[in-house]
Symmetry: C2
Subunit: 242 residues, 2 copies
DNA sequence: ACCTATTTGTGCGTATGTATT
DNA sequence: CAATACATACGCACAAATAGG
């Protein structure tokens, strides 16, 4: 019978009670241990764990093995401008943030239909795939996967490895300047592959930006898919430019 | 000892196995029952449930009590342009989609510091808050909250209620045209308040667009915060315009 | 209309593993 | 090393929704 006062399950009511305690300030930083919460609410420890799991999924709590369960403080999001001119380094330095890119890996792949259309190459044409991790103050901020035509940019990978900058690597390859043609944005849960690199929870949310850069003649230069941690970033679009 | 082959927990390996089966097409639409999966993988039913819960959080699966657990079909996302000229109705009709807005509620509120700065009014100044739900083919697509200065637009609420269009309501209020000054985008889990209106899972992800519209003289007209379901939308930004 | 089998959801008890203090 | 606290895993029981006879 389990003595349900209404149609709400016990773990939901425990979760609601904890959420209320946090909102009212009764619980400020750290939760009582699971066994104590179980006693206090008159439920099994598993039921408390179920409630904590739900609140963790909401992003409200964070459990650390051996230490305890803590209320998540949400720092203000970094503002990331998107527009015609997109330069990671410049954007960050405007906000007094020292950025750095890290090369994760590079590979040659064959263009599928979608990629071929974006980069204006034949289906099956060889592409360089460049995997990068953007780091700010030692904190991973975004993961990006860039695609370049091998035919047009045969040495782009080594150029990036040397300079650590897409802009400079493209200059070495004869592209003096480039601009963004289109940026498409959506959001998903982080892929398991990126969890370790981004040092985030396995159910974190990432903003996904799919973009195509073009040179001054309008020819596609790179197609890039960037994953930003949504709780650390806000993408800003200003028509006027700045 | 539980016979862990490596450092990965059993539920994770079951989850990985299920994910692989889906990717390879071995499982197409519906999963075998939990008890059968438990037998097949040599684990307890709870362990299978843990794996299914993780994959559900990823959006890959959907469990229905009494029926079974199903693979989520992901329909292609609707592309939503963001740029200087933002007109919900026009945007949707370009993709042969018939939109409609629904008035959820309206309220008078006092401007806090942030809102006051955005709308260029005094802190504490009265604002109209307009709550809307955008619906496409009977399917809820986005929830938005608009703020207008009461002083400048005393009758905006009734004008919207009559016309069902922000653009037309503003025209009635003497704003012949307007454009977007800035759009900021991030993502969060859906707020419990919006779950019912958006008819989504309680842990769904929403893209959040915070934007300010200005009239042709550059004066702020409205501040609007829109929540799009991330699995139904892709926001597109093209510098050139279209 | 009813009953039954199937399937997911909830809850408790117990034991053990692992990281932190 | 010991105590504490979260993580994983198994087993059992019953509730609730669904589907079919």
């Amino acid at each position: 019978m389990h003595a349900l006062d209404d149609g709400i399950s016990r773990w939901r009511r425990v979760a609601d009670a904890i959420r209320a305690d946090i909102a009212s300030g009764v619980i400020a930083k750290q939760l009582p241990p699971e066994v104590e919460l179980a006693e206090r609410h008159g439920v099994n420890r598993h039921t408390v764990r179920r409630a904590i799991a739900a609140l963790s999924t909401e992003g409200l709590l964070r459990a650390e093995r051996g230490r305890g369960t803590f209320v998540n403080a949400q720092p203000p999001r970094v503002i990331y401008p998107i527009g015609e001119r997109v330069r990671f380094r410049e954007n960050m330095m405007k906000q007094s943030i020292e950025p750095s890119g890290r090369l994760i890996g590079a590979e040659r792949v064959a263009a599928d239909a979608r990629q071929a259309a974006l980069l204006d190459v034949a289906v099956g044409a060889p592409l360089h795939r460049l995997e990068r991790l953007a780091v700010v103050d030692g904190m991973p901020m975004s993961r990006s996967t860039s695609l370049f035509s091998v035919q047009r940019f045969p040495d782009i990978i080594s150029a990036y490895a040397e300079t650590g900058s897409i802009t400079q690597a493209l200059q070495k390859s004869g592209v003096s300047d480039y601009r963004r043609r289109e940026t498409r944005i959506t959001a998903e849960r982080v892929s398991p592959n990126d969890v370790e690199l981004l040092q985030c929870a396995s159910d974190a949310i990432v903003l996904i930006s799919n973009a195509v850069d073009i040179d001054m003649e309008g020819n596609p230069v790179q197609s890039v898919r960037t994953r930003f941690l949504a709780d650390r970033f806000e993408l800003s679009f200003k028509p006027d430019a700045d």
